[in-house]
């Protein structure tokens, strides 16, 4: 650790502290050390992701062309699995459910998140407590959340939802056992659980909006509604895009909720892609087919990320 090098005083270190301020041999050895340590420090995480994310993708692609039941060795099956998926009504029904949950749930929870964020952006007594209450559903495990709602939706007379509806003379309704109601009941939970994170991102974005814009608008006599639509909404466009894309991606990963609440039923009315893949692999043991389904899920998400970039056209990097 002894060094013969630089004689620059501490005062000018910041200015002189570039490798090219060092004598040639020493500069080279610093660069070599930097290069070596860069690779060394990055290696464990890189290897880990190559093994546990990179390799599994390759394995999934390879196995998607085989017939495999876990017990017997996989056999090459060509495009058979993809042909099966193409005509598999249940798989596409599950995709459709994901799309419906996203199309209904995301706009509603984004709107509510924006309402909460707008109100909680100002100085109010108890602001922190309100934020926590809205955010708690996100921090809680989805399994616990699903258990709570299973109880709330209970068709018995002590199910909270039916108690409340009973007060206005409705019900009791079989929320999770009626094919017409089940998907809606699931969507309500996703909205409730999704508001908190979206509110948080909106709040973070609002802090970045220059207060002078609002002051100038105040001077011009703009009212709260005008300020909201003419200043807040345009300034939040990048945050809105970010929320939309990440919500779409996490929507296609809904699993725990379905597993606990409905197991995809009744009559497959709440089956989603991840749950369908789980059933194919671990209940029907059609592992080759399940891998093909996984590849399709991966493609959907890649296309989604790509399309959203295209459609919104670069507003993600402004």
């Amino acid at each position: 650790m002894t060094t013969t090098a630089p004689t620059t005083s501490a005062g000018t270190a910041a200015h002189a502290a570039r490798p090219d301020a060092l004598p040639g041999r020493r500069r080279r050895s610093v660069r070599t050390a930097e290069r070596r340590w860069g690779l060394l420090l990055a290696a464990p995480a890189t290897l880990h992701t190559l093994i546990w994310i990179g390799a599994p993708i390759l394995v999934a692609i390879v196995l998607s062309f085989t017939a495999y039941d876990i017990i017997h060795a996989p056999e090459f099956a060509g495009l058979e699995n993809y042909a099966t998926i193409f005509t598999d009504g249940l798989f596409w029904l599950s995709v459709l459910h994901n799309v419906i949950i996203a199309a209904v749930g995301i706009p509603v929870s984004m709107f509510l998140a924006l309402v909460f964020a707008t109100m909680l952006d100002r100085a109010l007594p108890g602001r922190g407590a309100f934020r926590v209450m809205v955010f708690l559903p996100h921090i809680t495990a989805t399994v616990a959340v699903a258990m709570i709602w299973l109880w709330i939706y209970s068709p018995s007379q002590s199910g909270l939802m039916n108690v409340v509806l009973g007060l206005v003379g409705i019900g009791p309704l079989p929320f999770l056992t009626d094919p017409d109601l089940a998907l809606g009941s699931v969507i309500l939970v996703t909205i409730w659980q999704g508001i908190g994170l979206k509110m948080l991102i909106y709040l973070a974005a609002m802090q970045g909006v220059d207060d002078q814009l609002y002051e100038a608008a105040d001077l011009d006599g703009a009212n709260a509604v005008q300020k909201f639509f003419r200043i807040t909404v345009p300034m939040l466009k990048p945050a809105t895009f970010f929320i939309l894309v990440t919500s779409l991606i996490s929507n296609f990963q809904t699993f725990d909720l379905i597993y606990i609440l409905t197991e995809g039923g009744p009559a497959n009315s709440t089956s989603v892609v991840t749950y369908r893949i789980y059933q194919t692999a671990f209940q029907e043991f059609r592992v080759g087919l399940a891998n093909a389904q996984s590849v399709i899920l991966l493609l959907i998400l890649v296309v989604l990320a790509f399309l959203s970039r295209r459609i919104v056209g670069g507003s993600d990097d402004d």
Partner: protein, 313 residues
Amino acid sequence: MTTDLAPGAPDPLAPPHRGRARDRSLRRQKRLSNTLVLAFLIIASLIMAAPFLWMALSSLRDPTELARTPMPLIPRDLRLENYSEALGRAPFATYARNSLILATAAAVLNVVFASACGYALAKLRFRLAPAIFAWMVACIMIPFYATVIPVFLMVRHMPLFGGNTILGAGGTGWIDTWWALIVPGAVSPFMVFLFRQFYVSTPSELIEAARLDGVSEFGIFTRIITPLIRPGLLTVGLLSFEAGWNNFLWPLLVTTSDDLRVIQVGIASFRQEASTDWHLLMAGTTLAAVPMIVLFLIFQRYFVQGFASSGIK
């Protein structure tokens, strides 16, 4: 910018002498709107929190109340016995211990390995850096659910473990071991990305100065730069802990024995066991939910910072 604010907005060139009166009415308006907002917020956030209140109330309720019609919304008396009964019916203490080990391991491993990689990508120039960074960003986009089956197969066919041959056949590999629970989730590409962001904002001059003083590259990373991003370490640690504690599908797939079952899987299996004993089920659910809620209340600031940049549950 301001002139196109609104049709129908008051004329900005209106005579200035009305200023003070308008100020007063503006203030009154503001107070009124604050009151309305507050009222709305109280009602709305109570609705948001209602499911949790209902969980807590139900976990303390006398089971005979559940059968009564109409059921009283507030329990007559609070029965803490529900908790001891739930603990007697299923080994929740073991479940909680397992979740604690899993979550702690995920936090420590992510902090160690992701910080090293994040630092290298942010501060050190080496040939593969851009490629590794692009790879990490691509990995963030790949959902675990799309790779869960091959990862499961890899774990099951881990050579020389669980009775497997060197080719990974014949036994159960890592299934039902701590290896399976901990190793595949030891490094999350998102945490690498997050660490890189934290390290980018540290001053490079400090690194150069330390090099001049002859501090080793490893020493610069561990003793000089990393202490500057303590909030980042805490954020990544907490987010990894939360993900570990709340994880469900992976532990469900790779554990079979009660000894290795984590609390989220424990709750799901307790549901079969207790079927309609909702006072017990809610006691168990409370046990699974409350630790994260408490942790969040204590470290809110760090959680919020991490969540706002992730956007993904």
